[in-house]
Symmetry: C2
């Protein structure tokens, strides 16, 4: 018998989806990207993505308000559709609900989902609701569309392409550390008021992430079509390795170019974590990681909220980070691996960046 | 605070989806049918349906083989697409997996899913896999298509339409009784060999249901387009009340026309249940319930595996069953309600037909 943890999530998926043939002409692209792509004889292709969120694995209701949870559960799916350079259009929401939840609780959750739908122009079109004896279960599927020629896959990166990332990295993971710290401090104290001062940005990035629709629009307006793209949910290292593996390339990223917010740096200092490791492996940033041709350099440099952090190389050069002192460290996928998270106290991040350094 | 059980699944969904406006032109029909319908400028509309299955709520692994579970989890989604008169094309599979499962276990589950996909010509196009500390969680979303003019909704029934049902009813529920009985008998006995003799059909209906693609094809070949249709997952009573509510009609069904298999009748006798109540409320039949215009009477009577069981009336006449002795009993929705199932020993059917009679 093979322990699932010995394969990890991607190993398991590879194994399960090995030799999966497609039978429908309408199936353009299946497993292996942010969303599946279907064509139904139209000038728009259909994109589908899905996410499963389990209580005490993916979220902790002691500090996550239900409305925020609903918002985030929807937004992370929209993020996957944007990561294909598409537009999210519809979602289905399936819930497993245990007895301790009241209708008002579920309405709070839905209020967050509906608010996300409103903000991103998405329709809630269906779902399934059932009891659970296992805490709250949330499964959201998002359907989107894109013109066939606009869709950006993970496998299109070419040597000399520039590697770009939106926003900043590591903040959501540091927000989780803030929330966990306050949870520990609050244990058994009813009158406890959590102290988030100076950490507001981190907490917001953890509890209420946004999908980068603005970046997609900005790129379209600038006439830049990325050669590859995905959203940063498991951590920059993990995602970059994905793009390079699927594109059959290597890469170099510069340590001093990785965008990190001031609050992230302060918190890393406070909890004695390596800042760059947190930014590389923290996950849940929901920023867009993409590559553009070298010829787009001047255009992309001018764009707000986008940073060029490195370049794509020939495959034989491998994937590495160039440190501030000019050294090279191989990139390793040490992001969020929910398949080994079970039974650990901090189930949200099974391998914390701090642990990775051991 | 409102207990969720006071609303039930459909009440909760009504409440959660109240005043849900659509913003995308591509969203034709959202919540409230077997699948959502989208149009992307093509000659085919896109259908989406989703199902969430939780261990010890929807299935019991002490007697459900993982391969069968995978097969059924896929097929019940295909059934929803057929119930729209569409063709299932793609599925996404999300799994939450707890530690006691090995890779081989999950491969068994996937073998069932893939076998179902092969048999029904469906592509597995994606999903999400994560750890669970809550037993096995399976969330499947199915995407299908149909010509716009072919789609059959639940709300199209008209007075004088004939009510038809495929196959027979109550067998899957009786199969569950067989399995539960053998589970009790086997408790603590390692050498126990379950005895399914004479009950093979019931067990197969419970463990390995099929979606009625054949009926959809038969109707198309006969040139019959149902005026309304849905699949029987919660029980005939519940589904008929849905169709009548959404179509603003009443209905009459004849007790002596409800199709019931011989094995179902024998098992009902053995466990001292009212046979018709089991057939009306048992659920998980995955047969097709549909209405056709009265003018299609002669055509539909000739079709194999389809039975006319009653007719649609004006709404003021309500929904009732005409008993063998000519009396009328109002139809009540007492099907499978997973939202009140928690904490009960028999979680698979919270209100058994036997209990309903109390």
């Amino acid at each position: 018998m093979t322990e699932i943890s010995s394969l990890g999530e991607f190993g398991l998926i590879d194994r399960l989806t090995d030799k999966l043939d497609k039978v429908n002409d309408s199936t353009l692209r299946g497993v292996g990207d942010d969303a599946a792509v279907m064509r139904y004889g139209s000038d728009r292709d259909v994109l589908v993505t899905t996410d499963l969120l389990l209580e005490n694995v993916h979220f902790d209701l002691t500090y996550v308000p239900l409305k925020h949870l609903g918002y985030k559960a929807a937004v992370v799916n929209f993020s996957d559709i944007y990561a294909m350079n598409g537009t999210p259009r519809q979602i289905t929401v399936s819930l497993g609900i245990s007895r301790r939840f009241t209708v008002e609780h579920i309405e709070e959750l839905y209020a967050g989902i509906r608010y996300a739908c409103e903000r991103y122009g998405v329709d809630l079109v269906g779902g399934d609701t059932s009891s659970s004896n296992q805490g709250l279960v949330i499964s959201i599927t998002c359907i989107g569309d894109a013109k066939p020629e606009d869709i950006v896959y993970r496998d299109g990166a070419k040597p000399t392409d520039l590697i770009c990332v939106s926003g900043d990295l590591g903040a959501a993971y540091m927000g989780l550390q803030v929330l966990e710290r306050e949870k520990v401090a609050s244990a058994g104290r009813k009158d406890f008021i959590p102290d988030f001062s100076g950490k507001e940005y981190l907490v917001e990035r953890q509890l209420k992430p946004e999908a980068r629709r603005d970046i997609i629009e900005e790129l379209a307006q600038a006439g830049i079509r990325p050669t590859s793209m995905m959203d940063v949910s498991d951590g920059l290292s993990s995602e970059l390795l994905h793009i390079c593996k699927l594109s059959h390339t290597g890469c170099r990223v510069y340590e001093d170019r990785i965008p990190i917010d001031y609050q992230t740096a302060v918190m890393a200092e406070e909890v004695n974590m390596n800042l760059v490791t947190a930014a590389l492996n923290g996950g849940e940033d929901y920023e867009l990681l993409f590559t553009v041709p070298l010829t787009a350099h001047d255009k992309v440099e001018k764009l707000e909220g986008i940073k060029v952090i490195g370049y794509i190389t020939e495959p034989n050069l491998g994937c590495a980070m160039i440190t501030r002192d000019g050294g090279e460290i191989p990139l390793r996928a040490q992001g969020w691996n929910p398949l080994v998270a079970e039974d650990s106290e901090d189930t949200s991040l099974s391998q914390s960046p701090a642990e990775d350094k051991e």
